[in-house]
Amino acid sequence: MVGANIKGQIISGKFGEIVARQKSDSEFELGEILVCENDSSKIFLQVYDLQYGSQVSQQNLELISGMNLEENTNFEFLDKNLRNYRIALLKNLLSIDKNNPKNVTLSKSLPEMFSNVRSVTNEDLSFLNKPKNPLFFGNLRSGSHELDVPIYLDGSAVLSHHILISGTTGKGKSVLMSDLLWDATSKDYAGLLVLDPHNEYYSGSGKIGLKDHPSKNVSYYSVKNDVPGMKSLKINIKVLRPQHFGCLDFSDAQEQAMNAYYRDYGIKWIESLLLERPVKVNFNDATINVLKRRIMYLLDIDIGDGQVYCNGIFEFNAGEATISGICDSLENAWTIILDTSSFSGQVELLVGSLIVNEMFNRYKNYKMHDELEGKPIISVVLEEAPRVLGKEVLEKGSNIFSTLAREGRKFKVGLIAITQLPSMIPRDILANMNTKIILGTEMVQERQAIIDSASQDLSSDSRNIASLDKGECIISSNFAKFAIPIKVPFFDDYARKELAISKDKGGVKNNNSNTKKEFMGLRE
């Protein structure tokens, strides 16, 4: 008698391509996790492909179908469940020693022929412990079925070794990012800098957003200042250095001219360039004119009556402490959101480059003086990552973001790169992204780029990735034992649940919450 929870039986195949026959009253799904047990171990398997099987020849099957369709014959098989069935191709995931459940290893053997496979249960997954610095990604998913098993990875390791989030538009990248930000904001092991070109993380989509986070360790910078508590994004021009423009497409001659002005005029180099003050090195007039025009456009500056006027976020007269303030907050494990929705892509990258440069230099300095330990991880969230990490961009030279991708982890500064086009990012950079969160991706080329650089062997998962529905993803990470299928929670539901938990606990205390509010000194 076959047990009630049995879903199928192993019938053939080889390691990594195990063939199982589906029990007639069950249904296998792509990505489903199955367990095959014997006396000493449990082997975890995952469905990566599905097909039909039949005891009837293909020719006869076609004939039967023809009779059904053309002659309205109601053809029925004798013992149809025995003769026609479905086959699943399974790959090995893990093996657990039943005598020592903590002994979880990558599976290296085949289950016995005719072993039964069953659905995975919460109990089977008790080995999934909460790490020291937990970062919540979602609940474990088996096929399309969400299990009540929260998945945490070590946030400090994952964030410092970079994360790539890939997936087609609408598959849930932003929801996932919102969940991650909400969770990380509650923790003191990481500070997150978010360049938010869609202005979606702070206020949310008219509902709940990071503005509602109980810890209040969130700063929001925007060109608007219509909501109390948001900071008006102003950056003083004197903090700009030629190197900050490295992530933008300036010619060699233009870069040399910028450097020459900086050498001669120091912090007043931009003003001097715009007012065409002389420099010791001679440059072609055309070079200076183009450079001047580009910088005026980029920084939204006008010149009139021998004076420079600022119209945008870059100012001569404000924002001196903005960059250092942001970096200080990041060092205190705050989440900083920059609303870049009204910026051109180039301005967004320039602002990002400014902050990341400052932060990276600080952390390099800490490392040099043995002061890095105890500092939180800094993670920079970058949308449409190929803008700065794309092959074409990097062929023209490296920038602070590619430097981070290559060596940031040594200094506890990581990237969360979000893209729907991972194939545009060079292989060596992709390889440095040690955690990949893969959402549904229809394009073969993009799937392949991810599969080729994943931390686990996903060579058989192309179809699985293509079939991932909204909110379904796979996490492939150096810090996970296997490529974990996840169901990303809807942000509103997740945040509300967390808010309720926080309220029950009496709320997360922030710096000011202990101060008794009294309006002393107020007279009627």
């Binding site: 900071k231 007269n317 402490a321 200080d328 107020l522």
Partner: protein
């Protein structure tokens, strides 16, 4: 603003801030000069955006001179609108600002009530011009931030007419780099659409217009309050707003001559010579001389630099006052101490150990010297107990010191 409107905006007067009587008088003198200019320029009213006094209860002499000025303004029918600042605010409400208001010499515009947990400010209307003024006081530790977080902005924004908002806080977006770690309030917490935002607290001279907050102005102090400010600002000043135009009035009551001396790899004698060289032949009459020295000496200690003689020479050249800053001078004898993550107590112990034996006392061995130093530091840092009178406090400290020193 109305075409005929003219008002003065000053802040951070800090009457009574300098300990030295000569410099203390300068704050009062500068204030007097400012009031004189306001009268001469016939302003409609004066705004003082916090810290008129350096303490909530200033000394009688300081008070007397300020009251005299306010009396003149009152006679000239020039109203003064103020908010208490972080220095002259008092949680108990016992502040001289209240006394002056009761006497009708000024008006504190931080007025309002709490409605449904929100701070609903009330406008004070200037009778002559019809301008409506309100504001939020400053508190120590930037605690006024909490007031801003509960401020009923809509109530203020819907008020029609010409409006001025007074504040005594640092605005995040306008903080200078040198004060980047200073706690601050985001401009978004302030009501939008006012005609003028009269600031104080940060001793900077700054004016800026945000998209929704035009004319946000810090006038700087009336007279610099410390060495750094004297170096940076030279003198104090304030603004006069006339028919939409802002003009700065500098209060040049003294000349300031500042010098930077590099002590790196120099002996105290060489530093002495270098300083003399810098003011050789300079006219120092009516001048405040600022000497800032930095760098590591090749030999000797900071105290070996003959500043006494330097000062004498400056005064003989007519200097009004000479100040020195040697914080960044490192004596040759001292080695750099690595602090790591020490708490203040560990750091103190480390510093005491570093200097043990420098002063020879026959009956103290190094252990005893260490213990006595620690105990003395503890006793001398004790504060006056609540309800303890000053003479009782002094007596207690003296007795405890005697006991430790076995006197």
């Amino acid at each position: 603003m109305t075409e005929k409107l003219k008002f003065a905006h000053m802040a951070d007067v800090h009457i009574g801030s300098w300990r030295d009587p000569k410099l203390k008088d300068l704050s009062t003198e500068a204030f007097s000069m400012a009031i004189g200019i306001c009268i001469q320029k016939n302003v409609d009213f004066i705004l003082i955006a916090g810290d008129l006094f350096n303490t909530a209860l200033p000394g009688i002499d300081s008070l007397k001179s300020v009251v005299k000025e306010f009396k003149i303004l009152s006679e000239k029918n020039i109203p003064v609108y103020v908010i208490p600042g972080s220095h002259d605010y008092s949680p108990s409400g016992k502040t001289m600002i209240d006394v002056l208001e009761e006497a009708g010499l000024l008006k504190n515009v931080f007025k309002g009530k709490i409605v449904d947990g929100k701070l609903q400010l009330r406008f004070t209307k200037d009778e002559k011009t019809g301008v409506k003024i309100t504001g939020i006081l400053g508190r120590r530790g930037t605690l006024e931030k909490l007031f801003y977080q509960d401020l009923d902005l809509a109530h203020l924004e819907k008020e029609h007419g010409k409006k001025i908002f007074m504040f005594h806080t640092s605005i995040t977006e306008l903080k200078p780099e040198s004060k980047s770690t200073m706690d601050s309030t985001d401009v978004s917490y302030m009501p939008k659409g006012f005609d003028y935002y009269a600031g104080g607290h940060v001793h900077i001279v700054h004016q800026y217009s945000f998209k929704e907050h035009k004319n946000v102005v810090y006038p700087g102090p009336i007279f610099p309050a410390n060495f750094e400010e004297l170096e940076e600002l030279g003198n104090g000043g304030f603004y006069i707003y006339t028919n939409g135009k802002l003009e700065r009035e500098e209060l040049n009551i003294k000349n300031v001559f500042k010098m930077n001396v590099d002590c790196e790899h120099k002996s105290p004698e060489e530093v002495y010579e270098a300083i003399l060289e810098k003011f050789k032949g300079k006219e120092l009459i009516n001048t405040i001389v600022l000497i800032r020295a930095s760098g590591k000496l090749r030999t000797g200690k900071v105290s070996d630099i003959n500043f006494k003689e330097i000062m004498n020479k400056c005064y003989s050249q007519g200097a009004f006052y000479v100040m020195r800053n040697t914080v960044k001078v490192v004596s040759a004898e001292f080695e750099e101490i690595k602090i790591d993550d020490m708490n203040p107590e560990d750091l103190e112990e480390s510093m005491i150990k570093e200097h043990l034996g420098q002063v020879k006392v026959s009956r103290f061995d190094s252990d005893k010297e260490f213990n006595i130093s620690k105990e003395l530091m503890h006793i001398l840092s004790s504060e006056k107990h609540e309800g303890e009178k000053v003479y009782e406090y002094e007596d207690r400290v003296r007795k405890e010191v005697d006991k430790v020193l076995e006197l």
